[in-house]
Structure formats: structure tokens, C-alpha cells
Symmetry: D2
Subunit: 89 residues, 4 copies
């Protein structure tokens, strides 16, 4: 799984390198914006996937564990990450 | 807490009624859009707050409970809700 | 068109009233969040529609007009509205 | 200006390369997600900047020009780009 995320990040990296070239070659602004949006969408999918893994490992361990502070920390992080994506507008 | 969310939703409801009036009275488009964005921001804060409550009640109960299917269901929902807000672009 | 936006806003208003009731009747948190997300999606479609109208009326008039300050103002607003929706994360 | 966007994209590229390393070195999931969100925020700022340039050049030229089809095309693109960022939920 780790390998998969690493690979997908490398693809986004290549994608962004391509966008740099587009900018240097004076590509049409809207085409550049579309490519940036596509790269952002790919990043969103990767972070959703990583969150999924996190929920099914660390979060379960922390919540089933005996440390209430650890539990609170882990849940607070989920909340923070959600709030950040949610805070458009 | 329930009362608080209910009240905040009522405020958003009133806000949207005000936006309806703006549209009927031919307000400037950009002003209407700004008000819609403000209403959406208020809704985002409400849903973040509700998620927070949910994490600190149902999610803890389900994960500490003995039913793996229930656990999976609850974590799947968190993932789904995150993915939905995350799926811009 | 104005009538159409007004009607769609009224539907969202009714939708939010329904969500208030859900909260008062202790509906499941995730179901409430899903309904809030649906209301936000409806609002996004309305504001996209309003922007479309705006682009095809005020923006064209301003840009074809002779007042550079007015032109700048109108383009600045488009930029502002875009930036606001774009500023997630 | 072109140089500026190119440079900022290169920074994002480096940022993503750093995130790849984090994943390979088994960094904490939430830290990875936070970095991905930061990279997305940087991309949002870049695309807002590019849109701004576009509004102040191509869009003005097209709208002041004599070709209604061209005008429509350019405005349709603004709408499309706005709708894409706006279509969260």
C-alpha cells in the first residue's frame, strides 16, 4: 500500500513538472488551470486513501487502547483534517 | 449541543430566506454569490461541529465495541464524509 | 431566470428546515452531515448559475464599456469569488 | 510573471518529492495528509494567480473583440473553471 501511495505521488510530481513546462512554453492559461485542478484531484484521492488506512490502523488502536489522552489526540486529528478540507468559502 | 446546532441551522435558514429576497429584488449578482458562499461557510462549520460530536460518541462506542462489522461501518462513514468534502476539482 | 434561482433557493430553505427537524429528532449524525452536504451542493449549483448570468451580462457590458475602473472592478470581483471557492485547504 | 508561476510550481514539485520520502520512511499518516493539503493550497494560490492574469489579458481582448463566438468561448471557460472548484460536496 505504501508503495502504491509513493508511486501515485511520483506521478503527481511528474504531472506538475509537465505543468511547469506548459507555463514556460506559454500554454493557454485555462489549459494550465485545468491541469492544476487535475493534479489537485489526484492529491485529494491520495489523501483520502491515506486517511482510510489511518482509520483502519492507528485510529482503531488508539481508541481501543487504554489511554484517553491518546484517544482524544487521534480523534482531534481526524476532526482537524476534515475541517481543513471542509473550510472552503 | 443539539439545541445549538438546531439554532445555527435556523440562522442559516433565515440567511437563505434573505438571499431569496435579494434575488427577487434584483440585487447585484456578485453580492448574491457572496451571501451564498457565507451560508455555505456557516453550513461547513455546523457539519464540522456535528462530526466532532459524532467522533466523540458513536465512533468511540463502535470501535470499543465487539462488533467488527459495526466498527467497519462507522469508519467507512467517516471516510465517505471526508471524501465528499475532499472531492473538489 | 430570476424566478428560477428564487425557487431553487426556496427549495434549499425547505431542505434546511428539514435538517433542523432531523437534529431535533436526534437523527443519526452522519445522516445529518450528508443532508448538509447535499444542501451545500445545491447552493454551489445556484451560485454557479448566477455567475454564469453575471458573466453574460454585467461583465460583458463593463468590459466593452469605456470605464477602465469599472472594468477592473468587475474583473476583480470574478477573481475574488473564484479565490473564495478555491481556498479550501 | 511567467517566471514566477514556473518557480512556484517547481517549489510544489519539490514539496511533493518530500512527501514521497515521508511515505517511504513511514511518516505518520496525518502528517502526510497535512503536507498534501499544504501542497494543494499552494496549487490553489497558483491557479488563482494564473486566472487573474488571464482575466486581465485574454478575457478583456476577447470580450472587446468583434467575434461573439470567441467571447462566448472565453466566458464559458471562466464558468467551467469556477464550477470545477465549486463542485465540492
Amino acid at each position: 500500500m505504501k508503495k502504491d501511495f509513493s508511486l501515485r505521488l511520483r506521478n503527481v510530481e511528474g504531472h506538475i513538472r509537465g505543468i511547469e513546462r506548459m507555463v514556460e512554453e506559454d500554454a493557454y492559461c485555462i489549459d494550465v488551470i485545468r491541469q492544476i485542478q487535475a493534479a489537485q484531484a489526484a492529491l485529494s484521492k491520495i489523501s483520502s486513501g491515506i486517511l482510510d488506512e489511518h482509520l483502519n490502523s492507528c485510529v482503531i488502536t488508539a481508541i481501543r487502547g487504554d489511554d484517553p489522552a491518546e484517544r482524544e489526540r487521534v480523534l482531534g486529528e481526524i476532526h482537524e483534517v476534515f475541517e481543513k478540507t471542509n473550510r472552503s468559502y
